[in-house]
Structure formats: structure tokens, C-alpha cells
Amino acid sequence: MQESLLLTLLILTNVALFLTAATWLFFLFRREKNVRVLVTIAEKKAEEIITAALEKAAKTVTDAEYLEKSLKEKLEKSVEIAATTITDEGKQSAEALAGAYSTASKNAAATLEDQAVAAFSKVAQDLSTESNEVRRQLDEIVASEHTKLVTELTEYKAERKQEFEQELRKKIQVIITELLPYQITIADQEKLLVAAIKKAHAEGLFN
């Protein structure tokens, strides 16, 4: 183990010496070369940097495009969502409004219906009252006219009856005054007077 270690150490020391020498030599020989390498490397590095920069730029562009696309998609999605949301909300609002309007309309319709019913009822009641009043007035007029007609008819009948009786009385009077006296003698008068006195006495005139 120790030998391995010593060997290893020795190797390492030799390697190190070699490396040192090599390095020194390398540095010596390669100083120029290194410069050129460095230049190359620098150029390469620069090229890499440029490339990387270009790539990065390209990537950036790509990223930007991606980002743009992503943003665009997000935006579109957002817009879509927003639109959907807005649409939904609008729909909901519309539905709510529709519901509200519907309720309001129903309420308004119900109110209007109630008012219409009340108004109609009032009109019907007024008409009924008016109708009753008109009927009452008509009844009064009919009764009055009936009474008037009956009165007129009664008066007419009485008038006609009176006229008839007057005519009849005149005729009877003519018979009585123009005809009968010549048919009744003084003796008849005396007999009728006696009969009248007796009848009056019998009927209590002298009591």
C-alpha cells in the first residue's frame, strides 16, 4: 500500500515535474502559440459570443415571438375568456335583467291588471249604479206617466159620463117638463101630494 502510495507519489512527482517542465516548455513554446490560440480562442470566443449572442438574439426573438404568441394566445384566451365571461355575465345579466324585467313586467302587468280590474270594477259599479238610477228614474217616469194617464183617462171618462148624463138629464127634463105635466091632472097632483106626505111621515120626517 505504502509502495503504491510512494509509487503514486513518485509518479505524481515525476508527472508533476514533467508537467512543470512540459508546462514551462509548453508555455515557452506555446507562448506565441497560446497568444495565437488565445487570439483564436478569443476570436472563437468572440465568434461564440457573437453566435451565442446571435442565438440568444434569435432565441430572444424566438422567445419574443413565442412570448408574443403566448401573450397573444393568452390575450386571445383572456379575451375569449373575457368575452365568454362577458358574454356569460352579459347573458346572466341579461337573464337577470330579463328576469327582473320579467318580474317587474309581471308585477307591472299584475298591477296594471289589478288597476284595470279595479277600474273596470269601478266602471261596472258606476254603470250598475247609473243603471239602477236610470232604471229608478224610468220607473218613476213610467209610474208618473201611468198615474197621469190613469188620471187623464179617469177625468176623460168622468167628463164623458158627465156629458152623457147631462144630455140624458136634458132629455129627461124635456120629457118631465114638456110631456109629463100635460099627462098629470090636478087630481093626480093631489093624490101624489098625499102619498108624499104619508111617505114622509112614515119615514120619520115629522118626528
Binding site: 109629463l180 101630494l193 111617505k199
Partner: protein, 151 residues
Amino acid sequence: MTYSLSQALPTTTALTNFQQKLADAKKLTFRIDFDSEKILASSFSPAERKVLEQHCSQHKLSLESTHLPKTLDVVSDYITKIPELTITMAVEPNKSIIQTLSELLHVQLKKAVVLTFRIDTSIVAGAKLEFQGKVQSHTIANTIEKVFYEK
């Protein structure tokens, strides 16, 4: 034959005339030296005097000079109190009718009644009678009207 005053003078006209004569006779008694016989003779017809004397006899009234004024008043007052029967008839009553009615009333009523006659030809025959505010119509005209108008 005796007559009551209302029988002898059955009409209002006759009794009024008689009552006027009683009043005239009464005036004659105002003289101091009046003679009852002269007054009675000058104031009344024989028939009227007879009726007066009968009435005074029936009612125990004296026609002597001392009582004559009072008797005349009593008789006049009696005439005033005789109830009146108004008879409306178609013709002017003659003496026969008046006498018949007077006797009939005397028999029927047994009291004095004086008759007042009114003429209304429209009643034809029979009479309308008014006595102490009561009226009855027993006329031919009335009977005819009843026949025609009563139902």
C-alpha cells in the same frame, strides 16, 4: 065643526096675514076707550073672527076688553111658534089641495103645522118636503131620475 087655527089658516101666507091683523088690532087697543067688539069686528073677517074665538076658547083665552091686548099677543106668539112645513110642488095648490093636506097633517101629526108652498115645475108631481131642517123628496122627477141613474 071646530077647526084649529092651523087648519082654518093652513098656509104661511094666511097665517101671516092673520098675524098682521092681530098686530093691527093690538094697536087699536092702545086707545083708552077702545071697544073690543069694535076692534074685532073691524080687524077680522067673520071667518077669521070665528077662528080666533075658537082658538081662544080652546086655549082658555079671553077676548074681553081687559084681556084683549094680552090675548092678541098670546095668539100671535102661538102662530109664531107653529112649525112650518115647506112643500115644493109642480103646480099652484088650489083650495082643495090645501084643505086636503091640512086635514091629513092634522090627522097624521095631531099637532098644528103651517104650510109654505113653493112652485117648481121640474119636479112634475109629488112634493119635496122640508120640516125643521130635514128634507125629503118624493117627486116624480126624482123617481124618474132614480130609475135612470141608480145602478
